[in-house]
Symmetry: C2
Subunit: 284 residues, 2 copies
Amino acid sequence: MTLENISCQKSFGGWHKRYRHRSSTLNCDMVFAVYLPPQIEQGEKLPVLYWLSGLSCTDENFMQKAGAQRMAAELGIVIVAPDTSPRGAEVPGDPDGGWDFGHGAGFYLNATQAPWAQHYRMHDYVVHELPALIEASFPVSEQRGISGHSMGGHGALVCALRNPGRYRSVSAFAPICNPMTVPWGEKAFSRYLGEERSQWRAWDASALLAEATERLSILIDQGDRDDFLITQLKPETLEAAAKASSHPLTLRRQAGYDHSYYFIASFIEDHLRHHALALGRSVD
Amino acid sequence: MTLENISCQKSFGGWHKRYRHRSSTLNCDMVFAVYLPPQIEQGEKLPVLYWLSGLSCTDENFMQKAGAQRMAAELGIVIVAPDTSPRGAEVPGDPDGGWDFGHGAGFYLNATQAPWAQHYRMHDYVVHELPALIEASFPVSEQRGISGHSMGGHGALVCALRNPGRYRSVSAFAPICNPMTVPWGEKAFSRYLGEERSQWRAWDASALLAEATERLSILIDQGDRDDFLITQLKPETLEAAAKASSHPLTLRRQAGYDHSYYFIASFIEDHLRHHALALGRSVD
């Protein structure tokens, strides 16, 4: 578990750092980013919010565009942003060269099918290997929150729902709520998991929510001018599942907003406050 | 003066829009971005902050990475971000393919030398053509502020110092303070303006400040871990000029910060408040 620091930049009194390491889960080298707020130097162990980005992103998009560091610095929350898939020449990508499968499109699941299963195990990387590495390397607590956008919103919901007790808080921006039934999900799941659709339910937030035992309060923001809203995201499916099982879900439909980081930046403060409350940070 | 709207995205209750238009000053098509805060729909004419970006940037870098929209929305300030040079196949670029001259490196001056003089007139574009277009097309007042980063910080200072009365406020992040004497400036000025160095003084903030008649208070932030600080930026030259002429200058050396947008984002709120005060907006 050797971490190679590849950059370090001061931001809002704290530090934005990028690291490379060998992932034994993914069988490749990985890069992640971490934002360490100024409180990190005061000896207190801080909670960590894991941020999962969407299709075609890396660790950089969120850190550069979401404007999250300001509130993370104020609230004393560490943010960790992994990449969105295994990477490198040894990792097979989309044979058709698509941007919605393979590199940049790991879908935060554990693939079962050849040739994907050897590398595409982003669920185990995000839920187990990366937190173990973070908690061994930085002065952080084991209090974890998780959030993400689009494919990463799906990832955040699925990671939280599959692992009761592991996260104190969860939220998402424009998540893919019912991947089993939409083109992005069908393409990825049929390859990573095979054609047997009964196997897909374990990676679908709407299916998982219907059977959830833990009552973790979910915050979701969704723009109503999002081009992917109807065809790919389907928040109404998650809303129905939450209603049927009386699961606490706050789904805010934001008038006029699209799928971009301008949308995320507009509401990231609310999400950080949502996580801070559950993670025991003081919220004014 | 026809504006073609090429995108529109909601951001912090306002709108981030991009436009293409034919520039008669630059003899090419140009793209700029504008952030219209929510107050724009309330009938009041709002002031405009012009943001000039640095080498190799376009209108997009600042809007995506600086996180300025939050405070612009709170304070009711319009932000306009032009491109950093004339663009297009008809515009000659650096014959050596460099990123510090030509496309993306207009240096906010009016070139006098062939073949540059036909297109590279960014000063007149930023100071005259673009504000005329903005003030004719949007419900804004004629109260203007100007700011920028690196080459754009140089541009903001020079535009304000050359045009007394035209701007109510000026600030800069890590500006090139004395371009006459540094490699970036020498390369650009010798080509755009010719080898006669006496002609360069009219485009050098430190030289202009020494002779300034208007006492416009300048706010500058400069990171002390900026890789370009000593070789290219030279804030001590501007500081000396301000001291010699008793010009109001607040130069803040920010410990640990580099030249990046992480630095800009950390202090953009202070700059927006500086401009808001001078532009007559209520600052809590």
